[in-house]
């Protein structure tokens, strides 16, 4: 089938935005660049997280995968196993994928809110185990010192722009593939999907593991970029909920959603941090409540007419566009 602009609009917009972002080091200074790196770390993780959402599995613990990737890199460097950043990052992604596969076995027997609570519980267990295991750094964490840190920040910037673009294209390929069709069918109605021959559990397991691997790769990147990992900066609930808020604010299961949501949520968080030191995450909670009440499809879902815009008092506002 020839490449069609209309069918691939969101992919094209996302790549164009990333291209423009990629030019910023030419015109701006390092603070903006480090802020963009932080935003893109979340955008990339949310692109990975979307793979879970297209199969209808709402996870409350994506940070577990970020942690798996970051800790793999940290341990490889710390124990001197390998200093090759590309190899280590790929290993980080691989370990996160395996974690997804192993945890997916028991978790994917659950659906809906039970699955969500299960992921939350397991992610917290992983955080607590690491926190109380000295050989894994415990509460002190692990310093990741390599030659890369001596490089200019630009290299990290271009790397994360590249990773985000690659994830967007990868997600697009999955969305348009047979696997994507099967996952969408599973999300809409798992019984009907099974009755048409879709092997729901293996497909969900594959989607969950792939999603974990992508988030894990970003975790590996973060370990190198930050130079220090400890349970609270890669495994915390706060990270999981930031990813979740970005996904739903931007528009779940869309390509453009993570980038719009990423900018909005991370910037809101940064601004709020200046005013409410400890409880700044209340901003995320308010954003999530507004999204669920007013535009359940997020910004992109509402703008494309795939989901309704709702006046919480009067009900649907764009009844016609939403096809209701």
């Amino acid at each position: 089938m020839p490449f069609s602009y209309r069918r691939n609009k969101q992919l094209i917009y996302t790549l164009v935005i990333l291209g423009v972002i990629g030019l910023t080091p030419l015109v701006t200074h390092s603070y903006v660049e480090s802020l963009l790196i932080l935003i893109l770390i979340y955008v990339a993780m949310t692109q990975g997280y979307n793979l879970m959402l297209i199969q209808g599995d709402l996870s409350f613990g994506p940070a577990a995968f970020m942690g798996a990737g970051a800790y793999t890199v940290a341990l490889l460097v710390h124990y001197g196993v390998s200093t090759n950043p590309v190899l280590n990052s790929l290993l980080g992604a691989g370990v996160a994928g395996v974690v997804g596969f192993v945890l997916g076995f028991p978790l994917l027997k659950l659906r809906g809110i039970y699955f969500a609570i299960g992921t939350l519980g397991l992610a917290e267990i992983i955080r607590l185990v690491i926190l109380s295991t000295p050989s894994l750094g415990g509460g002190q964490g692990i310093i990741v010192t390599t030659f890369i840190q001596s490089f200019n920040q630009d290299i990290f910037f271009y790397a994360i722009v590249g990773i985000t673009a690659a994830f967007t294209v990868f997600s697009h390929v999955i969305f348009k593939s047979r696997l994507g069709l099967a996952l969408a069918a599973i999300k809409d109605n798992i019984e009907a999907a099974k009755s048409l021959g879709v092997r729901a559990t293996p497909f969900r397991l594959l989607g969950f593991s792939l999603s974990g691997a992508l988030i894990g790769l970003v975790g590996a990147f973060f370990a190198y970029y930050n130079g220090f990992v400890y349970p609270d900066n890669v495994l915390s609930l706060g990270i999981s909920f930031t990813i979740l808020t970005i996904a739903f604010f931007g528009g779940e299961s869309t390509f453009l959603g993570p980038i719009i949501g990423g900018f909005a949520v991370v910037l809101a968080e940064q601004i709020a941090q200046n005013f409410i030191l400890q409880g700044y995450q209340v901003v995320l909670a308010v954003l999530l409540v507004i999204v669920f009440l007013v535009m359940p499809g997020g910004i992109v879902g509402t703008l494309t007419g795939k989901a309704p815009l709702i006046n919480p008092i009067r009900g649907l506002m764009n009844r016609k566009r939403a096809g209701h």
Partner: protein, 243 residues
């Protein structure tokens, strides 16, 4: 082709099906009727692997399928529709059908491509013109047609239809009856649950009647229409009809 041998299924203290046997031969259209809650849809769920019976056996083309997963049973050639429609709401009509075409029974080398097969199923069910619409934009009757198109897309040799004509008007019902007759012409075998008696009488070669999980009668449509047991438990008495 399909042989259900004395299956029993209990949900806790409730016996949904009690030692029920039935069989369907190649190219037959067989009806399964009964009051609400008599176990008809439960029987479909057993045959298609969504439930596992406590006792009894189910054979399809002489192979035992009792307790196999719904996916495996679909790939063996049993397709079904659901009483409460279960469309893939976020997908287009064409994509709904494509799921069955891709993942259903394996395509033989001489058969049409996945996409051509889907388009043929959509033409057969008069949905071709609406193939790019989202399912939620379809009328009720079209959604019922889509249930059939989707079940057919998985290339079944035995098709289980669960109240596909419920809620359709007289014209739509007759169109649906013609569609099912066409399917038999194309070599399909059909087991159908239906409350629209006119359709059942027009379509079926044989009928099984369930009541409270028990098989109370079986025979040709004429025999069933005149069976005292069936009249009393399902079709209603003359006296009731007159009141």
């Amino acid at each position: 082709m399909l042989e259900v041998q004395s299956v029993t299924l209990r949900f806790g203290g409730l016996t949904a099906l009690n030692g029920v046997s039935l069989n369907v031969k190649h190219h037959e259209i067989v009806g399964l009727i009964g009051t609400n809650g008599s176990g008809k849809s439960t029987m479909f769920n057993l045959i298609t692997g969504f439930y596992k019976p406590q006792s009894g056996k189910i054979l399809f083309n002489d192979t035992e399928i009792t307790g196999k997963s719904p996916e495996k049973i679909c790939k063996m050639g049993i397709g079904r529709t659901f009483q409460i429609m279960k469309p893939f709401g976020s997908l287009t009509v064409f994509q709904n059908v494509l799921v069955g075409s891709y993942f259903g029974k394996k395509r033989e080398d001489h058969e049409k491509s996945f996409r051509d097969h889907c388009l043929e199923m959509l033409r057969l069910t008069n949905l071709y013109e609406k193939r790019n619409k989202l399912v939620r934009d379809l009328t009720f009757a079209d959604q019922k047609r889509l249930e059939l198109a989707r079940a057919l897309s998985a290339r079944p040799s035995l098709l289980l239809l669960d109240e596909v004509m419920a809620g359709l008007n007289a014209t739509e019902t007759l169109q649906y009856v013609d569609m099912i007759k066409d399917l038999r012409q194309k070599g399909l075998t059909v087991l159908i649950i239906e409350h629209v008696m006119k359709a059942i009488m027009l379509l079926t070669d044989r009928i099984y009647v369930l009541n409270s999980g028990q098989l109370i009668a079986q025979g040709t449509p004429e025999e069933i229409a005149n069976d005292a047991n069936v009249i009393q438990s399902y079709l209603g008495t003359d006296q009731f009809a007159r009141s």
